[in-house]
C-alpha cells in the first residue's frame, strides 16, 4: 500500500492511494497561491498598473523588462495568472481508477487531471460539492476570460533566467509546472465524469474495496472518505469542522478503528478562533461604515460568506447599519445564494428544520427581500446605477489578482476611511496586497477558518484511535511564525508519518487476511469436529476461483488417495477412477479413455516436476 503525494499544500491536497489493486486519487486541489506572483487583472484600464516600470537585471540586461514589472520593490509577472498543478510525473495518472473529492475547494485542478492525463476513471463527489465546485470554476474561468491579455510571458520561466530572479519569485515552487487556467468546455467535460454520491452511501470499487463518504461539517456537501476492504480500513480526513455553522455536523464514529488515517486540511490559522474573528469582522465593519468609509470583503462566492451574512443579519440592527447597502458581486452570486437554499438535506439540523416551517434556511433570503443585500454578476451594468456609498462589498477573488475586487481596490485604496477586511485564510494578506502598494486603505485581517484546529485534532485522534496517522509535514512542527507554540502541531503516538510534495510513502501495514467465500454445496459437505469447546475444525480441499477480486472456494477434485509403493507413489483419484503412478524414472497416468483429463493431469504433473 502506497501513498503518492502530488501536492505540497496542506489544505489543497492531491494524493494517490494504491490500495489492493485499485488506484484512488484523494482530492485534486489547485494551488492558486502562484497567482500572487502575477500582476492583477484590472477590469477597467488602470493607468497605475500600466505605468509600472519594467524590471531590469542587475547587469542591465533588459530582456525581461516586458514580462516582469516592479511595484513598490517587488517584482510581478505581467501576464495571465498561472496556477501550480499537482505533480504529474510521479506516476502515470491515466492509471488512476477513481478520484474522490472531499469539498469544493479541493477540486479546482480537476479539469487538468481528467482532460490532459489520459484519465478514464470516475470522479465521486456529493451533489453540493459538484454544483458549488462548478460555480467556483465558472467564476474563475469568467474572471480570466473577460479581461483577455494579449501577451503571455514565458521567457522568465527559462531555467537560466529563474536563477537571476529576485525573491520571492526565485523561491516559487515548481514554476515549470505552472499552467494557465482551463476553459469552460474543459470544466464541463471534467464534471461530466462526476458520479454523485450521498453521505454514508457504500460504493464498491471492482469488488476490491468499498468507499464511503461521511459528512465532515466544513462546508455544504463536504465529506471525509472511508476506503476499506474486508480487513483493512483507511480513513481520509480532509477539511473537517466541529463548529456548528451551516453544514451538517461532522460524523466521527465511522472513522474509528482505521489502520491508517490520512489527515489533511486543518485550519490554516490555528491561533485565531472563528467566533472571535467573526466578532472582530463585525465591529471593524461597523466602525468603518460609521465613520463614512466603505468596506471591501474579498471572498469566495460560497462557504464562509453564508455565515458572514447570517452574522451581519443579526448584527446590523444592533449596530444601526440597517440603511447601509450590502453588495455581493460575482458572476455566480445569484446561483450561489439560490443553491444554498435548496440543499436542505446537507445542512445542519436547525437549518433543515426551517425548511418545514416553511422558511428559507439561510437568513440572507430576508436580506435580499428587504433590499439590504443586493447581488450583481459584475460591476458593469445594473450595479453602477444602484451603487451608493458608504457600502459593504463582498466580491472575489481573495487573491486580489482577478475578479471585481481589483476594481474596488483601485477605487477605494487611496482613502484611509475605507477598510479591506480579509476573511479567507487561503492567501497571505500581505502578499495579496503587495501590487497595490502604497495603499492608504485600512487593512484588517480576520481570517475565518472553521476547519479543525490542533486541540480538536488531538481530541479526535484520541477518540477514533487510528493505528497510524499520515499528514503533511507542515503539521508535524509548529508554524514557522510561532515556533514556540508546540501546542500547534499534531501530537500522537506513534508519531505521525509526514509527507511532502512528490514523495511516495509506503504505508506501514501489511495485508494479512483475505476473505474467501465457500460455495453452499461445498459448505454442506463439511463436517467439522470440535477440538476444544467452541472451536471446531475441518480440512477443506477445494478449488479456489478468483474473479473480479472475489475469491470463491468450490468443489473440484477432492477425493484423492495416496499410496506409497517401494518405487514411489500412486495417487488415486477415486471419483474419476484414475491413477497417477509416480516413480523414480517413470510416470504413468492411467485413465479410462478420458483424453482431456489425461492431458490436464499430464500438464500439471510436468509443471510440478519441473519445479522440483
Amino acid at each position: 500500500m502506497k501513498l503518492y503525494c502530488l501536492s505540497g499544500h496542506p489544505t489543497l491536497p492531491c494524493n494517490v492511494l494504491k490500495f489492493k489493486s485499485t488506484t484512488i486519487m484523494l482530492d485534486c486541489g489547485l494551488d492558486m497561491t502562484s497567482a500572487l506572483h502575477f500582476l492583477p487583472l484590472p477590469l477597467v484600464h488602470s493607468p497605475r498598473l500600466s505605468k509600472l516600470p519594467g524590471w531590469i537585471l542587475k547587469d542591465g540586461n533588459t530582456m525581461l523588462e516586458k514580462e516582469l514589472k516592479d511595484c513598490a520593490g517587488r517584482v510581478f509577472v505581467d501576464s495571465v495568472p498561472e496556477f501550480c498543478l499537482p505533480e504529474t510525473e510521479l506516476l502515470d495518472l491515466s492509471t488512476v481508477d477513481v478520484i474522490l473529492i472531499s469539498n469544493y475547494h479541493c477540486m479546482m485542478a480537476l479539469p487538468y487531471i481528467t482532460e490532459h492525463t489520459g484519465f478514464t476513471g470516475t470522479v465521486y463527489s456529493t451533489e453540493p460539492t459538484m454544483q458549488i465546485g462548478r460555480l467556483l470554476m465558472e467564476e474563475l474561468v469568467n474572471f480570466m476570460e473577460r479581461v483577455p491579455k494579449p501577451q503571455s510571458a514565458t521567457y522568465w520561466k527559462n531555467r537560466e533566467m529563474l536563477r537571476h530572479l529576485p525573491v520571492p519569485l526565485k523561491d516559487a515552487v515548481e514554476v515549470l509546472t505552472w499552467k494557465r487556467c482551463y476553459t469552460m468546455p474543459e470544466v464541463n467535460l471534467a464534471l461530466s465524469k462526476v458520479q454523485l454520491v450521498g453521505y454514508s452511501q457504500k460504493i464498491e470499487l471492482f469488488g476490491a474495496v468499498q468507499i464511503t463518504p461521511l459528512s465532515s461539517g466544513y462546508c455544504l456537501g463536504s465529506s471525509n472518505w472511508i476506503i476499506q476492504s474486508h480487513y483493512e480500513k483507511v480513513a481520509y480526513v480532509s477539511g473537517s469542522s466541529l463548529l456548528t455553522t451551516h453544514p451538517q455536523p461532522m460524523e466521527q464514529t465511522s472513522l474509528k478503528n482505521s489502520d491508517v488515517l490520512i489527515l489533511t486540511g486543518l485550519t490554516q490559522i490555528p491561533t485565531a478562533n472563528p467566533d472571535g474573528m467573526l466578532g472582530e469582522f463585525c465591529s471593524n465593519l461597523a466602525v468603518t461604515v460609521r465613520s463614512g468609509g466603505n468596506v471591501l470583503v474579498p471572498c469566495y462566492p460560497s462557504g464562509v460568506i453564508y455565515d458572514l451574512l447570517e452574522c451581519l443579519y443579526q448584527y446590523i440592527d444592533s449596530a444601526g447599519l440597517s440603511t447601509i447597502p450590502f453588495y455581493f458581486i460575482s458572476p455566480v452570486a445569484n446561483s450561489s445564494l439560490e443553491f444554498s437554499q435548496i440543499f436542505a438535506e446537507w445542512l445542519c439540523h436547525n437549518k433543515q428544520s426551517k425548511v418545514y416551517l416553511p422558511e428559507p434556511p439561510f437568513p440572507h433570503a430576508e436580506l435580499i427581500l428587504t433590499n439590504k443585500l443586493k447581488h450583481y454578476p459584475s460591476i458593469h451594468g445594473e450595479f453602477s446605477n444602484d451603487f451608493k456609498q458608504p457600502c459593504v462589498v463582498f466580491t472575489g477573488h481573495p487573491s486580489l489578482r482577478y475578479g471585481d475586487v481589483v476594481h474596488f481596490l483601485e477605487l477605494w485604496g487611496k482613502s484611509s476611511l475605507n477598510t479591506i477586511i480579509f476573511t479567507e485564510p487561503d492567501f497571505s494578506y500581505l502578499d495579496a496586497l503587495a501590487p497595490y502598494q502604497p495603499l492608504a486603505m485600512k487593512c484588517v485581517y480576520c481570517p475565518i477558518d472553521t476547519r479543525l484546529n490542533f486541540i480538536q485534532v488531538s481530541k479526535l485522534l484520541k477518540e477514533v484511535q487510528p493505528l497510524h496517522v499520515v499528514c503533511p509535514e507542515q503539521y508535524t512542527q509548529p508554524p514557522p511564525a510561532q515556533s514556540h507554540r508546540t501546542d500547534l502541531m499534531i501530537d500522537c503516538q506513534p508519531p505521525p508519518m509526514a509527507y511532502r510534495r512528490a514523495e511516495v510513502l509506503t504505508l506501514p501495514f501489511k495485508r494479512r487476511y483475505e476473505k474467501i467465500e465457500l460455495m453452499p454445496d461445498l459448505a454442506e459437505s463439511l463436517v467439522p469436529s470440535e477440538i476444544k469447546p467452541g472451536i471446531s475444525m475441518v480440512t477443506v480441499s477445494a478449488v479456489l476461483q478468483t474473479k473480479d477480486n472475489k475469491h470463491i472456494l468450490q468443489h473440484g477434485i477432492t477425493d484423492v488417495k495416496v499410496e506409497d509403493t517401494p518405487e514411489g507413489h500412486i495417487v488415486h483419484l477415486q471419483s474419476e477412477d484414475t491413477l497417477v503412478q509416480i516413480e523414480e524414472d517413470s510416470t504413468h497416468i492411467i485413465c479410462d479413455n478420458n483424453e482431456p483429463l489425461r492431458t490436464k493431469l499430464r500438464d500439471l504433473v510436468l509443471k510440478f516436476l519441473q519445479k522440483l
Partner: protein, 927 residues
C-alpha cells in the same frame, strides 16, 4: 401556641400513638417539632406541659408501647429531649423510669427498633436537645450511654455518625464548662488562663474520661479513618459554644498530634489544618500553648501544596499569629508562582525569585502544574487568596510586590499564549492555561489590585501592554474583558495621581496615543452587548477621571469616540443605551477644549445636541434603564452646574420635569425629584438665600413653598407657571409616593417612623416590621385610600362632561394606590414566607377590609366611566398607556362594575366568601 392548635393536638397525638396507623411522611413530624422548639425556647418554665397534658401522656404511653413505628419513636425521643431540657421535667421523667426506658443504653435495654437509623438519630438528637443541665451528663454516665455514642460515630448512616460526633463535642465542652473546677461564668482572658491552670492541677470529671480516652486512642491509631474521626471531633469541640474546652484538652493530645505531624499526612492533612485554624480562631492567643505555633508551622511545612494553600491563607487571616509563621504562609502561597517565574524566565534565577527562602520547592508543585485540572485549580486558588490578601490592606506590607506583579503578568501572558516557553515544563503549563478563563479572571483581579503597591515605570508599562493585549484580543471572554477594563482604569488613574504623574504620565500618554483608541472603537461595536456595555462604562469612568487632563481631552475629541457613543444611543440593547447615556453624561465634564464632532464648531451646540438626544430618550424609550440613566445624567448635570455652565439645560427644565413626573417608572420619578431639588437649590443660591433653612423651618410646607417659588420664578422671568405647576406635581409625588424627607410634613414623617410598614420611600424595612404594625397600619392606608378614592370619584363626577386626560385619571390613581399596594404587598409577602400564628391572625383580621376596599374600587362607576371616556375620546395615548387602560377596563368589568342591585350584592358576597375561604385554607395548611 394558639388555642386552636392546642385543641387539635390531642387528636393528632392519638393518631400518632396508635400503632395501627402508619405515618408515611415524617416531614410533618419535623414541622411539629420545630413548632414545639419555638415554644420551649421562649418559655423558661414549661407552661406548655401544663396547658397541654396530652404531651406528657403521649411521651409516657408511646415509650411503653412495643411495636411502634420507628419514625414516631424517633419523634417522641426528640420531643422528650426538648422538654427534658428543663431540669425539673427531666427529673420527673427519670423518676417515672421513662428516661431510662427511652434514653438508657439501648444496647443493654435490647430495643429491637434500634436497627433503624432514624431511631438512633432520634436518640442522639433527643440527648442533644436536653443537654442543658448536669443531670443529663450524670444520667448518661450512669447508663453507659457515652460509650454507645462513641460507637455510633462509626455508624453506617452518615447522619447518625455526624450527629454522634457533634453530640460528643457538645458533651465535652458542656461538661468542661460546667465542671465544678471551672464554674466561672465569664470568658475574659485572665479568668480563662486561671481556669486552665486550675484544671491542669486537678483531675478530670469521671464522665468525660471515656471521651478523652477515646480521642487519645484514636489519635494514636494506625488507621487513617480513626484519626480523621478524632480530629473532626476535636474541630467540632472548638466550634461549639464553649470553644475553650479544646484548650483544656490540648495538653492531653499535644503529643499525639505532634507525632501525627511528623508522620504521613495523607488523608489527615485537611482535618488537621481545620483543627488548628479553628482553635487559633476561637481561642485567644494568650491561652494557647507556646508549642502550638511551632506545631502549626510544622503542619504547614509538611502538607502537600494544594492543602497547604488553604491553610496558609487561613493563617494569613489570623490576627494573632506570630510573624515568622506569617512569613512561612506567605512563602507557601508564593511558591508555585515562584516556580512558574523560575521556569519561564530567561534571566538568572536570583533576579526573579520572590523570596530568598524558596529555593527548595515542594516536590509536588511540578506535579500539580503538569496536570491540567490541578494546575488550573492551584493557580485559581492562589490568585483568589492573593486577591483577598491585597484587599486586607493592613497586613500587606510584607508581600514582595514587584515579584508578585511579575508572576501575575507571566501567568496572564501564558493564558493568551503570549509568553514564550523555554522548557518543556512551561510548554505543558502554557498548554493548560491558554484560553483558560478562570485563571484569567483571577489574574486580572489581582493585577487590578496591584497599582497602589507596585507601580514603577516598568510595571506600569508591563501592565498597560498586557491589559491592552487582553482588551484587543477578539477571543477575550466578556467577563474577562470587563475585568481587564476595570484593571486598566485603575492603572490609568494611578498614572495621573499627583505623586506619580511626573514619571508615569508620559508612559500613559504613549500608551493612549498607540492604537488604544482604535481598539476602543472596535469594542464599542462588538457583537456581544456585554462588551459594548463594559466598554462604555469604562469610557465614562475614564472621561470623568481624566476630565482635567488636557491631552486626553484633545485625544478623545479628535478620535471620534464621542461620535460613536452618540450612535450607541440607539443600540437595541437597553443596558447599552443606558451605559451610553451615562458615558455621555460623564464626557460632558471634560474640559471645554475637546470637540465632539468635527463638523460642529461650538461646544454649546453639541451640548444642546446631546440634550435633545437625552430628552428624546426620556420621552420615547420603551425601557426603564435608558430613561433612568437619562434623567440621572440630567440631574447630575444640574447639580454640578457650577462646573458645567449649563445655561441651556435650564431652559429645558419644565419639559424635563413634565416628562419625568409622568413617567411610569418609579426610579425615573425619584431622579426627577432630585433634579427638581437641584434646580431649586441652584435657583435659591442664585438669590443668595439658604433654601434649606427656609424650607426646613416650615413644617406645613406647601403654601410657603408656593410663595417662595413664585418669587423665585419672578426673579427668573421664564416659564414661571410651568415650573411652579410641575414643581407642585413633583412635590405631591414626593410627599405621597416617596416621602422625601425634606418636603414632607413632620406629621407624616412621624407617622412613618412610628409604623415602618407605612414607610414606603425605599425598600421595605423588614427587620423593623412586626405583627403589631399590621392592623393599625393597613387600617390607616385603607382609610386614606377610601378617602382619596371618594375625592377622586367626586372630582370625576364633577367634571363628567369635560374631556379627561391621562394625567387627571391615571396619575392620580397611581398616587392613590401606591401606599396601599406597597404596604399590603409587604403583609401578604410576609404571610407567604414568614407566617406565624400571630401574623395569620392579623392578616385574617385585616384582609376583609382590604378586599372590601378592592371591590369598591373595581366597581367604582365614575372611574369606569372615566376609563371609557379616555379610550373613546381618541386621546394621543402610547402603547403602554393603552395597555394599562385596557387592562383597567377589563379589571373593572371582571370586578362587577356593570352589575346592579341584587346581583351586585350576591357577587360581592361571593367575592368576600372566596377571600375568606382562601385565607382560611392557607392558614389551615400552615398549622
Amino acid at each position: 401556641m394558639e388555642s386552636e392548635c392546642v385543641e387539635l393536638l390531642p387528636r393528632v397525638f392519638s393518631v400518632l400513638g396508635d400503632a395501627g396507623q402508619t405515618v408515611v411522611d415524617d416531614t410533618c413530624l419535623e414541622k411539629l417539632l420545630d413548632c414545639f422548639r419555638g415554644t420551649t425556647e421562649n418559655e423558661t418554665e414549661l407552661h406548655i406541659l401544663q396547658r397541654i397534658p396530652c404531651l406528657t401522656n403521649i411521651i409516657v404511653n408511646v415509650s411503653k408501647q412495643k411495636d411502634i413505628h420507628p419514625n414516631i419513636l424517633s419523634f417522641i425521643m426528640k420531643l422528650t429531649g426538648l422538654f427534658a431540657a428543663s431540669e425539673n421535667y427531666f427529673i420527673q421523667l427519670e423518676d417515672n423510669g421513662i428516661m431510662r426506658h427511652l434514653f438508657g443504653n439501648p444496647k443493654k435495654l435490647g430495643t429491637g427498633a434500634w436497627e433503624e437509623a432514624t431511631v438512633r438519630c432520634g436518640w442522639l438528637l433527643g440527648i442533644q436537645n436536653m443537654l442543658q443541665h448536669e443531670a443529663v451528663i450524670e444520667f448518661l454516665y450512669k447508663y453507659d450511654c457515652i460509650d454507645e455514642i462513641i460507637r455510633l460515630q462509626e455508624d453506617p448512616s452518615i447522619f447518625v455518625a455526624s450527629t454522634a460526633s457533634q453530640l460528643l463535642a457538645d458533651i465535652l465542652s458542656f461538661s468542661l464548662q460546667h465542671s465544678k473546677h471551672a464554674a466561672l461564668g465569664s470568658s475574659s482572658t485572665i479568668q480563662l488562663s486561671n481556669k486552665v491552670t486550675v484544671l491542669h492541677s486537678t483531675n478530670w470529671p469521671d464522665y468525660i474520661s471515656p471521651i478523652t480516652g477515646h480521642i487519645e486512642d484514636f489519635l494514636k491509631s494506625d488507621i487513617t479513618s480513626n484519626v480523621q474521626q478524632a480530629l473532626k471531633l476535636l474541630s467540632k469541640v472548638s466550634g461549639t459554644r464553649h470553644p475553650v474546652a479544646v484548650i483544656l484538652l490540648w495538653p492531653k493530645i499535644e503529643e499525639s498530634v505532634e507525632l501525627l505531624l511528623k508522620g504521613d499526612l495523607t488523608g489527615i492533612g485537611q482535618p488537621l489544618a481545620e483543627l488548628f485554624l479553628n482553635v487559633s480562631r476561637s481561642v485567644p492567643s494568650e491561652v494557647l500553648e507556646l508549642k502550638f505555633w511551632p506545631l502549626l508551622g510544622l503542619l504547614l511545612r509538611s502538607m502537600n501544596q494544594i492543602e497547604a494553600l488553604t491553610l496558609a491563607s487561613g493563617i494569613l487571616k489570623l490576627k494573632n499569629c506570630p510573624q515568622s509563621l506569617r512569613m512561612q504562609a506567605v512563602t507557601t502561597l508564593f511558591q508555585p508562582l515562584n516556580f512558574i517565574i523560575a521556569v519561564t524566565s530567561i534571566q538568572t534565577p536570583e533576579d526573579t525569585v520572590l523570596l530568598d527562602v524558596s529555593s527548595d520547592y515542594r516536590v509536588d508543585i511540578e506535579n500539580c502544574l503538569s496536570r491540567k485540572s490541578t494546575c488550573i485549580n492551584l493557580l485559581c486558588q492562589i490568585l483568589s487568596y492573593l486577591w483577598e490578601l491585597l484587599q486586607m490592606s493592613l497586613q500587606t506590607t510584607e508581600l514582595p510586590f514587584k515579584a508578585l506583579m511579575k508572576s501575575v503578568v507571566t501567568v496572564l501572558r501564558l493564558c493568551i499564549g503570549a509568553a514564550i516557553p523555554i522548557t518543556s515544563t512551561v510548554v505543558n503549563i502554557s498548554r493548560h492555561l491558554i484560553g483558560c478563563i478562570k485563571v484569567q479572571r483571577g489574574g486580572i483581579d489581582v493585577l487590578g489590585a496591584l497599582p497602589q503597591w507596585a507601580a514603577g515605570i516598568e510595571e506600569v508599562d508591563c501592565a498597560l501592554t498586557l491589559l491592552h493585549d487582553y482588551v484587543s484580543n477578539p477571543d477575550t471572554d466578556c467577563t474577562v474583558l470587563k475585568k481587564s477594563l476595570q484593571a486598566l482604569f485603575r492603572w490609568m488613574s494611578h498614572c495621573i495621581e499627583p505623586v506619580n504623574s511626573h514619571v508615569l504620565e508620559p508612559k500613559l500618554k504613549e500608551f493612549l496615543h498607540g492604537d488604544f483608541m482604535s481598539v476602543m472603537k472596535k469594542r464599542l461595536f462588538d457583537v456581544h452587548w456585554e462588551i459594548r456595555d463594559s466598554t462604555l462604562e469604562f469610557l465614562g469612568q475614564v472621561c470623568f477621571q481624566f476630565k482635567g487632563v488636557e491631552s486626553f481631552c484633545q485625544l478623545l475629541g479628535s478620535c471620534g469616540i464621542p461620535h460613536l457613543v452618540l450612535e450607541l444611543l440607539s443600540d437595541p440593547e437597553s443596558y447599552v443605551r443606558a451605559s451610553a447615556i451615562t458615558a455621555l453624561g460623564k464626557m460632558n465634564y471634560l474640559s471645554p477644549k475637546w470637540q465632539m464632532l468635527p463638523n460642529e464648531n461650538s461646544v454649546t451646540a453639541v451640548k444642546v445636541n446631546i440634550l435633545s438626544y437625552l430628552l428624546h430618550i426620556l420621552n420615547q424609550d420603551t425601557e426603564g434603564f435608558p430613561r433612568r440613566a437619562a434623567i440621572k445624567v440630567l440631574a447630575d448635570w444640574l447639580k454640578n452646574s457650577h462646573i458645567l455652565s449649563s445655561g441651556e439645560l435650564e431652559n429645558f427644565i419644565p419639559i424635563i420635569l413634565k416628562i419625568g413626573s409622568n413617567d411610569l417608572d418609579w426610579e425615573v420619578k425619584v431622579h426627577t425629584l432630585e433634579l427638581a431639588e437641584a434646580f431649586i437649590d441652584r435657583s435659591v443660591s442664585n438669590l443668595s438665600i439658604s433654601p434649606c433653612a427656609v424650607l426646613m423651618s416650615n413644617s406645613t410646607g406647601s403654601t410657603q413653598v408656593n410663595v417662595f417659588l413664585q418669587t423665585l420664578c419672578e426673579g427668573h422671568q421664564r416659564s414661571l407657571v410651568h415650573a411652579q405647576l410641575h414643581w407642585q406635581g413633583a412635590r405631591n409625588l414626593s410627599a405621597q409616593v416617596f416621602g422625601n424627607k425634606r418636603y414632607s410634613t413632620t406629621a407624616e414623617v412621624q407617622r412613618r417612623e412610628a409604623n415602618p410598614l407605612l414607610d414606603n420611600k425605599g425598600l421595605p424595612r423588614f427587620s423593623a416590621i412586626t405583627v403589631q404594625h399590621i392592623v393599625p397600619g393597613i387600617r390607616q392606608v385603607v382609610q386614606e385610600f377610601r378617602e382619596g378614592l371618594q375625592e377622586l370619584e367626586k372630582d370625576l363626577d364633577a367634571t363628567e362632561h369635560m374631556e379627561k386626560t391621562w394625567e387627571s385619571v391615571f396619575n392620580r390613581l397611581e398616587i392613590l394606590q401606591f401606599p396601599i399596594h406597597y404596604s399590603w404587598g409587604i403583609v401578604s409577602y410576609l404571610d407567604k414566607v414568614k407566617s406565624t400564628p400571630e401574623l395569620r391572625k392579623a392578616y385574617q383580621e385585616i384582609a376583609p377590609l382590604v378586599v372590601r376596599e378592592n371591590i369598591r374600587f373595581s366597581q367604582s362607576v365614575p372611574l369606569y366611566n372615566a376609563y371609557k371616556a379616555l379610550i373613546s375620546e381618541n386621546q394621543q395615548l402610547n402603547g403602554i398607556q393603552l395597555r394599562i387602560l385596557n387592562s383597567s377596563l377589563r379589571a373593572a368589568r371582571h370586578g362587577g362594575v356593570q352589575l346592579n342591585g341584587q346581583t351586585k350584592a350576591r357577587f360581592n358576597d361571593i367575592q368576600l366568601q372566596l377571600a375568606n375561604h382562601s385565607s382560611k385554607f392557607r392558614c389551615g395548611k400552615k398549622q
